[in-house]
């Protein structure tokens, strides 16, 4: 065990300063921007990072990275958080899939850009008629010579409007055979017939429904064998769920989504403390001395610490539920001003309490509902797959 302070080497301190300079140069911090767990990194920042191999910093330079360690990785994460910049640029989860299953052509022409982060990706798994039940996908890919013709639509294609490629799971056989007739493709989002139209969500964020109309792509864009899409997809999805998070003892143990939600949760608490410290009750005392406000804040801090201690797959559902519960509890403490949006006369805590109440419900469905997570965790415990 070791929770001691990391004394940065001079190289690491220099690295920190480089990142700060880069962020200062390409971004103006906006304390009201709290969808850090949802939005994609701004392009200017991403490209500047990509140039230095910092989008996937731990990858070797020849693999588009910078050969850095967990410390540098964590420095990047913390600084993006400090500057209120969304840090969703990585294709970490999908690169291994491409390396393992991608066609030679893809490996030669697309993988390099994805490795550096100059090229970006999004996921085309769910469909309007199936959210959690991915194996029920209807989007069809029909072989025509050495081309595929794709027709259908995908839901929850987050960043579909700002990505270069989509990992598309398509039906290449009888639908009755569910996950045994699925094939994975890497489809260029600028291919004729691909259209991403916005779906606005609570809190004002954007995701997309993407339409595929007679989209013709070469067989080179296929990832893995025909009808082997399920196994191609499953591996990174498991990682996304946080299963088997392996760390070198520096990064959080609660998985990428769990940690992302927890950082937002932390900003929520900071905002609530700022509010309480800045307000006085009718009796003239600071709201920070109000016993009920103190208990609400103490419970929030406790819940947050618990989230940081929720390892692997537990991290995401626990952080999502803690975020929802505490946003409501703090809004109640700050009522009625707690409902006001940022920038509105009299709004509090940079509007974060109000907007987190809108964002938080999404955290319970991104990447799979909390029920799906619990089903998976149950099986991890050796329990039978629940009905």
């Amino acid at each position: 065990m070791d929770f001691s302070r990391l004394e940065l080497t001079s190289e690491q301190s220099a690295f920190e300063q480089e990142i700060r300079d880069l962020l200062e140069a390409h971004w103006t911090p906006n304390p009201a921007h709290i969808a850090l767990d949802h939005d994609r990194s701004p392009e200017a920042v991403r490209l500047a990072m990509a140039k230095r191999g910092w989008v996937h910093p731990k990858q070797k330079p020849e693999a588009g990275g910078a050969g850095l360690g967990e410390v540098e990785e964590e420095i990047i994460t913390e600084l993006f958080n400090e500057y209120f910049i969304p840090n969703n640029a990585s294709s970490d989860l999908l690169i291994p899939t491409l390396e393992r299953f991608g066609s030679d052509w893809l490996k030669a022409n697309v993988l390099p850009g994805i490795r550096t982060g100059e090229l970006t990706t999004c996921l085309g798994y769910s469909e309007p008629d199936n959210g959690s039940d991915i194996a029920a996908a209807k989007t069809r890919a029909v072989q025509d010579g050495d081309e595929w013709v794709i027709n259908g639509q995908k839901m929850w294609t987050t960043w579909g409007n700002e990505s270069d490629y989509v990992f598309l799971l398509a039906r290449t056989g009888p639908i009755e055979q569910k996950h045994r007739t699925l094939t994975m493709f890497l489809v260029p989002m600028d291919a004729p017939g691909v259209e991403a139209s916005p779906v606005w969500i609570l809190g004002g964020g954007r995701t997309n429904v993407t339409f595929y109309s007679d989209v013709r792509i070469s067989d080179d864009y296929r990832i893995g064998g025909i009808n082997e899409g399920w196994s191609v997809m499953s591996e990174p999805l498991a990682t996304e769920h946080g299963a088997g998070v392996v760390t070198e003892g520096v990064v959080p143990i609660n998985g990428s989504m769990g940690a992302g939600f927890s950082r937002v949760f932390s900003k929520l608490i900071d905002g609530a403390i700022d509010w309480a410290a800045s307000r006085t009750s009718a009796d003239g005392r600071s709201r920070l001395e109000d016993p009920l406000v103190r208990i609400a804040l103490a419970e929030a801090m406790l819940d947050l610490e618990v989230c940081w201690n929720a390892e692997g797959e537990l991290g995401k559902p626990m952080a999502a539920e803690a975020l929802m519960a505490n946003a409501d509890r703090l809004a109640d403490m700050a009522a009625p001003e707690g409902i006001l949006d940022f920038g509105v006369d009299g709004s509090i805590a940079a509007g974060i309490i109000a907007s987190e109440r809108q964002h938080a419900p999404g955290s319970a469905v991104y990447g799979g509902t909390t029920e799906i997570y619990r089903n998976n965790i149950a099986r991890g415990l050796g329990l039978p797959r629940p009905y």
Partner: protein
């Protein structure tokens, strides 16, 4: 000591049943979802207000003596249920509660403050009240404050009526409630003192209780509509080859929503009846109804959103609209925390009753 029994009869009269049917039909016609959405961000539809005026909705729950139809708090709650079910963009409840509070001060001869009663009664002047004014200093957020021209408040032991000639600007919120800041010190605001001392305290206490009951009823309506939407979705939506209502986690969430619906509705009706007929019996019931409606509508609309999976968080889904409304409507009065403090009245009363009966304290704690 003689036993103290009470009736426990929740059944509605035929007239009350007809009122519900009339209101449900009217709001279904006049306030469908597209009207609700079109009325955002303000959260108020002047057209719908006119409909309410022409259909006599403003006077349902007013005493005949002051020009009303003689309905009471129960009728007001029934109206609130239907407004909530439709998420109707209308400031009716705040207006009527304020009318009821002012009714006791009406005298044919002169206007109330600078407000003409007939104009208020007709709804040509929209009224509201400031539920948190008794514990806030200076400026405060007022429900329906962005559409009302006169606001009843209680400051420093006085019952005051604030008026302005223009609408106060809305304070933007995700639920698009027409709340606005009102400040007695604002030069655009004229302040008239309506009562002071015990009379003012009494009128305000009752007005505040009625506001809690009326607001609770609108939350119950949001809750019931959300429950229906979630149940219907869970019955239709297929996953893994079956309707998702077959999954116990979802099924039991729907049951929990139903529990919130029924208990909130029943408690609101009970509070309405007793507050009207026996205001001195359990004065905390109004705060209890509001607290239960608030915590129920928040946790249950959130569950209802979640039952929809990803679909639930899209703005185009009706359920997300009900959730947004719930987040704003439920907290404009200060939140559950304030209600619980009010419920504290009951603790002290109960402690007093208990201390009168023998031996309780002896048992309470062996003296050391």
């Amino acid at each position: 000591m003689a036993i103290d029994l009470r009736r426990n009869d929740y059944t509605l009269s035929d007239e009350q049943g007809q009122l519900i049917a009339m209101l449900r039909e009217l709001f279904a016609e006049q306030s469908p979802m597209d009207v609700v959405r079109a009325a955002e961000p303000l959260g108020f539809d002047p057209q719908l207000w006119t409909v309410a005026q022409h259909n006599g909705l403003l006077t349902i729950a007013l005493p005949e003596a002051v020009g009303g139809d003689g309905g009471g708090l129960v009728e007001l709650a029934l109206t609130g249920f239907e407004i909530g079910r439709a998420a109707a963009p209308i400031a009716l409840l705040d207006h009527v509660v304020t009318l009821r509070a002012l009714a006791s001060l009406v005298s044919a001869s002169q206007p109330i403050g600078s407000v003409d009663w007939e104009s208020a009664l007709a709804g040509d002047t929209i009224l509201s009240m400031a539920p948190i004014s008794s514990w806030e200093l200076g400026a405060e957020l007022v429900p329906s404050g962005a559409v009302a021209r006169a606001v009843l408040a209680y400051k420093g032991g006085e019952l005051i009526l604030m008026t302005r000639d223009t609408n106060a600007p809305q304070a933007q919120n995700e639920g698009c409630a027409p709340v606005a800041w009102w400040n007695p010190a604002d030069p655009e605001v004229t302040v008239a003192t309506l009562a002071a001392g015990a009379q003012a305290a009494e009128i305000w206490d009752m007005a505040h209780r009625e506001w809690r009951i009326a607001t609770a009823s609108s939350l119950v309506g949001l809750l019931e509509a959300s429950g229906e939407i979630a149940r219907n979705y869970a019955m239709e939506r297929q996953a893994f080859g079956v309707t998702i209502a077959k999954f116990q986690a979802i099924s039991h969430d729907l049951v929990n929503i139903h529990m919130d619906e029924r208990t909130s509705r029943n408690l609101t009706l009970k509070a309405a009846w007793l507050t009207e007929h026996e205001p001195d019996f359990r004065p905390e019931l109004a705060a209890m109804a509001m607290a239960q409606a608030t915590r129920s509508v928040l946790r249950s609309t959130s569950k209802a959103v979640h039952v929809h999976g990803g679909m639930g968080i899209t703005l185009e889904a009706d359920i997300s609209l009900y959730y947004r409304k719930a987040t704003s409507w439920s907290l404009v009065g200060g939140g559950v925390r304030r209600d619980l403090e009010e419920i504290g009245r009951a603790i002290d009363r109960r402690a007093l009753e208990r201390s009168l009966t023998d031996a309780n304290l002896a048992l309470a704690s062996t003296n050391r």
